[in-house]
């Protein structure tokens, strides 16, 4: 199963769940399966510019990237603010 890990605000929006296990062949499938997909992806289905996605510890920008069955996807918000 692919594991997806969410940061705090997204986990709150997902009903308090930080970790999701799901079946997904691509990164796009994994993100769209989440209950917070509309916060990660914009209305064109593109990853929002300040959302960073890591697959097995490496930054991944290609939504079509295939996932291994044991892949770990981590969503990271860009750091800045005030």
């Amino acid at each position: 199963m692919v594991v997806v890990l969410l940061p705090g605000l997204l986990a709150t929006e997902a009903g308090g769940q930080k970790r999701f296990e799901l079946d997904a062949a691509t990164l796009n499938e994994a993100l769209r399966a989440l209950p917070v997909s509309s916060l990660i992806l914009d209305e064109r289905g593109e990853v929002r510019s300040l959302v960073h996605v890591y697959v097995d510890g490496e930054r991944e920008r290609d939504l079509a990237a295939p996932l291994t069955p044991a892949a770990q996807v981590r969503i990271v918000a860009a750091i800045a603010g005030g």
Partner: protein, 352 residues
């Protein structure tokens, strides 16, 4: 009856409950932590809370609570059609629809867009006529962006409403949003080097229709305070009748008196703080012929944003960018909250 203030801030939503006398207030929250709340409102038709929620990473959306803030649902699939070439940047104002249209909501956002929901925010449809308006190329963003920040309804006719866009001006529809006509005649665009009274391009800061008198509108603009008695066909300038400045953002009306309005002038566009080193709310009770000052008697260089003032039958409420909320009446000022995050909106509703 007590009052509930919904206070949207840069860092979450707060509620403040005030007693019958408006002398004792209790702060609750924050709700929606992590979200910037550009505006929050209680739907007078059913008491449901709505918040325009924005996050600089996750974008803009709407949250809805039918249990007074205990739990929230988020609107999904809020966005702009691909053919527009635009993406939704943020949400700014939610206006509950007409009393004859339960479940209907209007939503304004950036970049100068309007949405309508007919299912209490579960789904939204973009207003194509605003999105493709023939004058859109002449609209320029203000400091807050190119935003639809005002949506105000005619209480009699559900097909008639007005929107305010910075900096495009006021637009009116009489067919439920199928077509929109600029309604800016007489309002100045004082920042233009020439042609200061164009068809569009005015920097309206807030526009409100009075719920009790058909056709009466009030407007706080970048370049003055105005009133219209003909549904926005023409506007009369009012700030020259005794206000210290025509610049400001906040505007509130008294639903029971169409001649009463409140504004909070700021020093100038270049120095956006309250005039004369204190918080001063100016009230007219004669349709803008004259203005009377209600003042907070302490030094302050504050600012109250466009959604930051609200009125009920007992008091006028103002929330500052420095996180203070005041309840003001003649001769009496009560501090309802202090040290909140920067305040973006205040809405008063009867305490349920």
């Amino acid at each position: 009856m007590g009052v509930q203030l919904l206070v949207g801030t840069r860092k979450g939503l707060f509620t403040i409950r005030g007693d019958d006398e408006r002398r004792s207030f209790e702060v609750q929250g924050p709700y929606l932590k992590g979200w910037t709340i550009n505006h929050a409102v209680s739907d007078p038709r059913d008491g449901v809370l709505y918040a325009c929620t924005n996050n600089w990473v996750y974008g803009g959306t709407v949250h809805r609570s039918d249990d007074d803030g205990a739990t929230w649902e988020r609107s999904e699939n809020l966005g702009l059609p691909e053919k527009s070439g635009l993406k939704l940047a943020s949400t700014w104002h939610l206006e509950p629809g007409h009393t004859t249209e339960p479940g209907t909501l209007w939503l304004g956002g950036e970049p100068a867009v309007l949405f309508r929901s007919e299912d209490s925010g579960a789904s939204w449809e973009v207003n194509e006529a605003v999105l493709e308006h023939e004058t859109r190329a002449r609209w320029e963003p203000g400091a807050g962006g190119l935003i639809t920040h005002s949506i105000t309804l005619d209480r009699e006719d559900p097909k008639k409403l007005w929107i305010g866009i910075s900096a495009a001006g006021v637009f009116r529809t009489e067919d439920g949003g199928a077509t929109w006509k600029p309604a800016n005649q007489g309002t100045e665009a004082c920042f233009f080097p020439e042609n200061r009274f164009p068809e569009v391009g005015q920097c309206v800061h807030k526009v409100l229709a009075h719920p009790g008198r058909a056709g009466r509108l009030w407007q706080q603009n970048h370049c003055g305070v105005y009133r219209s008695d003909d549904s926005g066909e023409s506007w009369e300038r009012l700030d020259l009748n005794g206000l210290p400045s025509g610049f400001g953002f906040a505007l509130a009306l008294d639903p029971s008196d169409p001649d009463t309005a409140f504004v909070i002038p700021e020093e100038s566009a270049e120095n956006r703080v309250t005039c004369d080193g204190r918080i001063g709310i100016y009230r007219t009770t004669d349709a803008g012929v004259s203005w009377k000052l209600i003042v907070v008697e302490e030094p302050a260089w504050a600012a109250v944003l466009r959604e930051g003032m609200s009125f009920d039958d007992e008091a006028v409420y103002a929330g500052t960018q420095s996180g203070h909320v005041y309840a003001l009446r003649d001769g009496e000022v009560v501090e309802a909250a202090r040290h909140l995050p920067p305040i973006l909106s205040v809405e008063a509703a009867p305490l349920q």
